[in-house]
Amino acid sequence: MNVEVKRILIVDDSPKDVELTIAALAEKNLANEVVVAEDGTEALDYLYKRGKFVNETGNPAVILLDIKMPKMDGIEVLRHIRSDPKFKFIPVIMLTSSNEEKDLVESYKLGANSYVVKPVDIVQFLDAIKVLGQYWVVINQPPPINNQ
């Protein structure tokens, strides 16, 4: 079955972390449709299709959301996303640099779906997607046999 890949929105203020995440996704050919927002404001710009994303269309299939960002942090972005019916159901995976309980509790309280510790390991990521039941929404069509 041909399932078209949907977009993955990465919200992270560290370009190096973003590069590592994209490299991880590339391992399973999931990097084709990745959109990067460098902070909370850009993330909302993308969702509302304004600012530098004014010409974009469609919602992301999943959002990878960093917690520690300057100005609007990940928890606040999550709050915004969950309070708007348009985006309420988009699966959000919180990215964090540690298992600090505080962050964990906060993210789950506000309706994050999952929690992944950076660097994003592809196995971790896929597990998180599976758990969300969004696996088939996100995953690419399997690569043709001669590419394996």
């Binding site: 560290s14 190096k16 972390d17 590592l20 490299a23 520690k68 640099s97 540690s98 950076k118 660097p119």
Partner: protein, 438 residues
């Protein structure tokens, strides 16, 4: 006057003594503490002066006698007996002589001030010595009882006797009131001083607590941000080295690969160290959530988590009686985990691993032990055992950061207990931790 009447009269006077009728000295009531106590001369009528003189004449005549008798009788008094014994004879004799001279000067020469000053000093001294003023009343009663028979002897049983008795009471009351008032005022001063001292100490203590709390908060914020800020570059080092290894292996020779692996391992190690520091500092945060812990169950559960590691080894684990204890379940679980993990780790090079776990109640404490027959450690370095990142073995022999025992010590100390260890190299080690019973 009959003997009966006389006795009754004497008794009434004794009762009046106990009630401390402030008759004569109401006029000379001092108004403040030493130095500011107004030392007024008693206002005495001619008749009163004669009465006092009638008493004093007899007193002076038999002075030596009843001083000896009084000393003899007071020898066993709980307070004054001790004073009489402790004060050297010369000192007490000199003091007595002075007292008698001042008394004489006051009564015969109407020179009251020195006598008054002397009595005030007495009162202050009693207060400073912490003596109970009630005892002083007892002594004065004794004095009355000694002197009275002599007054009877001299004056018979008529008006002269009554006169001299009045004089005695009058004089003794003056003395009592002076001493009493000085005593009370000094006592007040002492109490006030104590209160001030306590207040100051409390203020210091409160200030220290405030500083400590602020310092702790700072430390918490600091360690939280360290966790994130230090981890980021570390993560990038590790992440890009991994990418290098994945993407560029064709260009790398064996040495190059080896170097990259070492870099990757080192950054992992640093990550572990940061995690260890963080969790160690966390141990001081938060309230202890104390509940009753079933030590038997906890130890058994902890042991079961090591079943993989013990698989294939010849292991004997003896768990003797383990008393229940009061403590924070999560933290005490960590203590058992660390101690048991060490016992298992350091005995793995032995053919057979023997581990003993037990506990006993002693002097209001529960002392638990975990003994193993493993590599042991050099007792000369025992003081380093519970230090952060301190190890007594090479990493290539036994892996580890050196935070486990530091954690154990922190937790146990927070519970009000202590840690201790004994060992002989290659013969095993015994680790003890104690917690108070309640």
């Amino acid at each position: 006057m009959t003997t009966h009447d006389l006795e009754q009269h004497i008794n009434e006077l004794s009762v009046a003594d106990k009630n401390n009728t402030m008759n004569k000295t109401e006029q000379i009531m001092p108004t403040s503490a030493k130095g500011t106590m107004k030392k007024l001369i008693p206002v005495l009528s001619k008749k009163e002066k004669q009465e006092i003189l009638a008493y004093y004449t007899v007193y002076e005549k038999y002075e030596e006698e009843f001083f000896k008798k009084a000393t003899e009788d007071l020898k066993d008094h709980p307070i004054f007996g001790k004073l009489i014994r402790d004060i050297p004879k010369e000192v007490s004799e000199a003091s007595n002589k002075l007292s008698r001279e001042l008394q004489k000067d006051a009564i015969l020469n109407d020179n009251w001030q020195p006598y008054i000053d002397y009595q005030i000093e007495q009162g202050i001294t009693y207060a400073k010595m912490g003596l109970d003023f009630k005892s002083w009343y007892e002594v004065v009663s004794l004095v009355r009882n000694y002197i009275t028979p002599y007054l009877q002897k001299e004056y018979g049983s008529g008006a002269k006797l009554i006169s001299s008795l009045k004089g005695m009471n009058c004089f003794l009351d003056i003395a009592m009131d002076l001493i009493g008032e000085a005593y009370l005022q000094e006592k007040e001063v002492l109490i006030k001083e104590d209160r001030e001292r306590i207040k100051k100490l409390n203020e210091e203590l409160e200030w220290n607590v405030v500083q400590l709390e602020a310092s702790n908060k700072e430390l918490e914020a600091f360690s939280y941000s360290i966790s994130h800020d230090l981890r980021a570059p570390l993560r990038h080092i590790g992440g890009f080295v991994d990418l290098l290894i994945k993407n560029n292996s064709p260009q790398l020779d064996e040495t190059g690969m080896r170097y990259l692996n070492i870099i990757s391992e080192s950054s992992n190690e640093m990550g572990n160290l940061i995690d260890a520091i963080l969790s160690f500092s966390k141990l001081n945060r938060g309230e202890l959530n104390k509940t009753t812990i079933n030590s038997q169950n906890m130890v058994k559960k902890v042991l079961s988590t090591f079943s993989d590691e013990l698989d294939g080894r010849d292991v004997e684990i003896n768990i003797s009686e383990l008393p229940d204890m009061k403590g924070d379940e999560q933290l005490i679980n960590q203590v058992w985990e660390n101690l048991i993990s060490n016992a298992i780790k350091y005995s793995r090079k032995k053919e057979k691993t023997v581990i003993d776990i037990g506990g006993k109640i002693e002097n209001g404490e529960i002392i638990f032990h975990v003994n193993d027959n493993g590599a042991g450690f050099d007792m000369n370095y025992a003081s380093k055992l519970f230090g952060v990142f301190q190890r007594l073995h090479k990493t290539k022999d036994f892996e580890g950061i050196g935070i486990g025992l530091a954690n154990v010590n922190r937790i146990v100390v927070r519970h009000g207990g202590k840690c201790r260890a004994e060992s002989e190299v290659d013969k095993g080690a015994a680790f003890f931790f104690s917690v108070p019973v309640i």
